[in-house]
Amino acid sequence: MRTIVQALSLLLFSLLFFLATYKLPDWLLADIYLRLDPLLGLNAIFAAREVIGRSLWGLVTIGATLLIGRFFCGYICPMGISIDFLNHLFFRKKKYKILKTETSLRKAKYLLLIVFVMAAITGLSLAFLMDPIALLTRFYTFFIYPLAITLINLLLDLIRPLSKALGWITLTHLHYFQPVFYMSAITLLIFGGIIALNLLAPRFWCRYLCPLGAMLSLISPLGIFKRRVSEECNECKKCQKNCPMGAILDDPRKTHLQECFQCRTCVHVCPQNAITFPASLSIGGEYSKIDLSRRGFIYSLAGGLGVGFLATHTPFTRLQGKHHLIRAPGAIPETEFLRTCIRCGECMKSCLTNTLQPCLWESGFSGLWTPKMDLRLAPCDQNCNVCGKVCPTQAIRSVSLEEKNHAKVGTAILLKEKCLVWAQNKICLICDEICPYNAIVFRPVEGYGRPFVIASKCNGCGFCEQRCPVLGDSAIVVVPDGEIRLKEGSYVVEAKKLQLEFKADPGDDKFILEGSGFKLDGDTGEKKKVKY
C-alpha cells in the first residue's frame, strides 16, 4: 500500500517535472511539489521579508501534518521515495547496527533547520542547500533530464533504420533537443552522497539531516494517528529492528513520535499482531520532546546568523547594483531576486532554448545555483514565458507573453574590433537577420553598410549574440544595461515610460487558417481528408 502511494507520488513528481516546459498550460501547477514544501516557503518569505502567494501552499502540508502526523516523509516526499527505492536496489542485504552517535545525530537536523531559518532572517536564502524537494528538482534538472533525453535519442537512433524501413516517417525524423547544464557533475555528487549515506543507516538523510523532516517532526506529535502497542507484545523487538526511521525505543512499546512517519512496517512485522495505529486525540506523549542541548541551540543560532552575515556582506553584495549577469525576463530586482530564489532549477528545466543556466560563483555564495542567461549558448525565445510560470516563489514573475517581451533583460552592444563587417569589411548581416525586434540597422560608414544597435528597440533576447559567426566570444553581446526589473507592476507600462519600443512579432497565438483572410476554395474551411 505504502509502496504504491510512494510510486504514484514519485511518478507524479516526475511527470510534472517533465511537463514543465513550453507550452505549459496555465492550469497545470507544475511546481506544486515545491509550493507544498513549507520549508522552502518559510525560507523565501523570511528571506524576502514578504508574503509570497505561492509559498502559502506550504500551509497545506503543515495542516495535513498537524492532522495526521509526519506522513509526508513516508508517503509523499519524492526524495524519501528515491532513497527508499535506491536503498532497496543497492543496500537491500545490508545489516545495520545502531550508530553510536545516534542520539546526537538526531539533533543535527533540528540544528540545521535553525541555521537555515536564522540565515533566512538575515536575508540569505540557504535552505535550498538541503531542502529535499529543491535538491531533488535540481538533481532531476541537471542530471536526470539531460540523461533521459540522451537515452531517448539513443533509442531513437537505434530504431531509426527500422523506422525508416517501416515507413514511420515521424519516428524516422524524431530527435529531442538535448539540454546541457553547467553544474550537472556537482549536483550528481551531492545526490550520490545522500544515497551513499544509506550505508550507515537506512534513510540516514531523513533521520539525521533533512531540515524539512525536522520542521515536520516538530509538529508531527500533534497528529491524530499514533502507534499503540497492546499487551500482546512479547518484546521480541522485531519492530524495532525493522523500523526504517529508528523511531522505536529500547522499550518496543514506546515511540519517538517525531520520527515515526507512519509507514506501519512495525504493524506488518509484529508476530503478535500487537501494534495498531488508532486515531487518538491525545497530544504528544513523553517521547515527543526534542532534547536539543542549550549549547547546540546557541551554536546553530549563531551559525545561521554567521553564515547569513558572511554571505550577505561581501564585495558581491555591493556589486549587486552593478551586476554583470543577465537574469531571466521577469526576474525581480537583483537583491530581492537572490533572497527569493530557492534554487530549485525548475526555470532552467522549463527553459525552451536552454539559455537558463545555473551560477556557480558568478555572484558569490549567495548566488549559488541561481539562474542566469547564457546568451552565447542560446537566446530567449519571444514565444515562451514558461520560466516565470513554474517559479514556485515568483523570483521570476509569471507574466503574459506581451509583458515578458517588455521585461528587457539587457542591451546588445557591438564590439567593432571583433565584428566581421566593422573590422574586416565582410558582408555579414546575421545579427540583423535574426533580430526579432529590428533593433539592428545598417548605416553606411566608409563605403560599407555597417551594423548599429538601436538600444531602445533591443530587449536583450540574445539571438544576435548566439548567432554571431565570430568564433569565441560573440562580437555582439548582451549586457544588463537598461534591464527592467520590477517587483510589481507592468513591464509594458514601464517600457513605454522609458520610451522603449519592442515590436516583436510572436504572431497571433490564436492564428487559425480560416482567420488569416484566406479561404479554402469554395468550401467552408473544413479540414480535408484525402484518400489514396
Partner: protein, 307 residues
C-alpha cells in the same frame, strides 16, 4: 526605417552596377514551344491560385508519378505566423501536398532546416496544422547534423562540397515552395535563396565565402523540378526574419526554371521601396550566367491569369 531603406537601396544599386557589367555575358535562350509556358503567374487566393498554376503546367501529375516520394521545401524557418510574411503560406503548402497525394505520390515530406526551434516553427507557421489531415503527408523540421549527408559540388566556384538533408537526396521529386521576401544579405529571398534551408552549414555562407557565389554553387546541385513562389504577400522590408512591411501581392508564380521564377518574383513588388529587375540581384545573375535559367522576364513565355 527610412535609413534602413536607404542603405539597402544602395546595396541594390551596387548589385545593379555589377549586373550591368556582367550581364553582357548572359545569353538568354528562347522558348519556341507553343504550349509550353516558362511561368504561370496567377493572381488570386492562395488555394485557387496554386491549383490554377499547377494546371497551367499540365497538372502536378506531370511531375509526380504514382508511387514516388516527393519532398516539398517551403520556408518554415521562422516561428512566426503567416501574416508576418517570413514563411510560406500554409494553404499553398497544403494545396501542393494534397495535389501530390492525389496524383498518387506514395509519400510527401515537407522539410526545412529551421532557424528557430523546430517545434515552434511547425506550430507557428501553421504548416503542420494545414497538412494535419492529409494522409501520406509529413511535416518535419530537422535541426540535427545526423539528418544531413555530404555531397560534392563538381561545378562549385566557392564551395566544393555541401551537406544536404538526406531525404532531399533520396527523393524522386523536389518541389520548392519559397515565400517572397526581402533579405538583408542577398536583396531578396526567393526560390534559390530558399535552398539554403536544405543544407547544414549556413554560417559559412555569411562569414567564409561570398554568399551570392555560394548560392549559385548550391543551385548547381539542388535542382527542384518545380518552383512555386508564394507571393500571396511579400515582406518587402525587414526580411528575412521580419518584422517588416508586408504588401499584399496576391500572386502565385510557378515554373520549372528556378531563375525565371525568382527573376519574375523580383519584379512583383518594390523591395525596400524601390523597383528592381532580376538581373539586379547578384545571386540570380550568377545562376543565370552559369546556365541555370533565364533571367530576363520580357523574354519569358508567361501564362497570366486572374481568378
Amino acid at each position: 526605417m527610412d535609413k534602413h531603406e536607404k542603405i539597402t537601396r544602395r546595396r541594390f544599386l551596387k548589385m545593379a552596377a555589377a549586373g550591368a557589367a556582367l550581364g553582357v555575358a548572359g545569353r538568354p535562350s528562347f522558348s519556341f514551344a507553343k504550349e509550353e509556358y516558362d511561368l504561370a503567374v496567377i493572381s488570386g487566393e492562395p488555394v485557387a491560385a496554386t491549383k490554377k498554376a499547377l494546371e497551367v503546367f499540365g497538372g502536378i501529375s506531370r511531375f509526380v508519378k504514382k508511387g514516388i516520394r516527393v519532398v516539398l521545401k517551403p520556408n518554415m524557418s521562422f516561428a512566426r505566423t503567416p501574416d508576418v510574411g517570413t514563411t510560406t503560406h500554409p494553404l499553398v503548402v497544403a494545396t501542393v501536398a494534397e495535389a501530390c497525394i492525389r496524383a498518387g505520390a506514395r509519400q510527401v515530406l515537407i522539410l526545412d532546416y529551421t532557424l528557430h526551434r523546430a517545434e515552434l516553427c511547425l506550430e507557428r507557421t501553421g504548416i503542420r496544422e494545414a497538412c494535419r489531415n492529409i494522409s501520406g503527408v509529413y511535416v518535419q523540421a530537422v535541426q540535427e547534423r545526423k539528418f544531413f549527408k555530404e555531397i560534392p559540388i563538381p561545378q562549385g566556384k566557392v564551395l566544393d562540397r555541401v551537406e544536404v538533408i538526406k531525404e532531399v537526396l533520396d527523393c524522386d521529386v523536389l518541389i520548392n515552395l519559397p515565400v517572397a521576401k526581402s533579405h538583408s544579405a542577398t536583396g531578396v529571398s526567393l526560390g534559390i535563396k530558399g535552398l539554403m534551408g536544405l543544407i547544414w552549414d549556413r554560417e559559412s555562407f555569411h562569414s567564409r565565402v561570398n554568399i551570392n557565389h555560394a548560392l549559385s554553387d548550391l543551385a548547381t546541385v539542388i535542382k527542384p523540378q518545380l518552383t512555386i513562389l508564394d507571393a500571396t504577400r511579400a515582406l518587402t522590408t525587414g526580411g528575412p526574419g521580419g518584422p517588416g512591411k508586408v504588401i499584399k501581392t496576391d500572386l502565385i508564380i510557378a515554373g520549372t526554371d528556378p531563375v525565371a521564377v525568382d527573376s519574375y518574383g523580383v519584379s512583383i513588388a518594390p523591395w525596400y521601396g524601390q523597383n528592381f529587375k532580376g538581373r539586379q540581384v547578384e545571386h540570380l545573375l550568377f545562376a543565370h550566367q552559369r546556365g541555370m535559367g533565364k533571367i530576363d522576364t520580357d523574354q519569358l513565355k508567361i501564362y497570366k491569369g486572374t481568378l
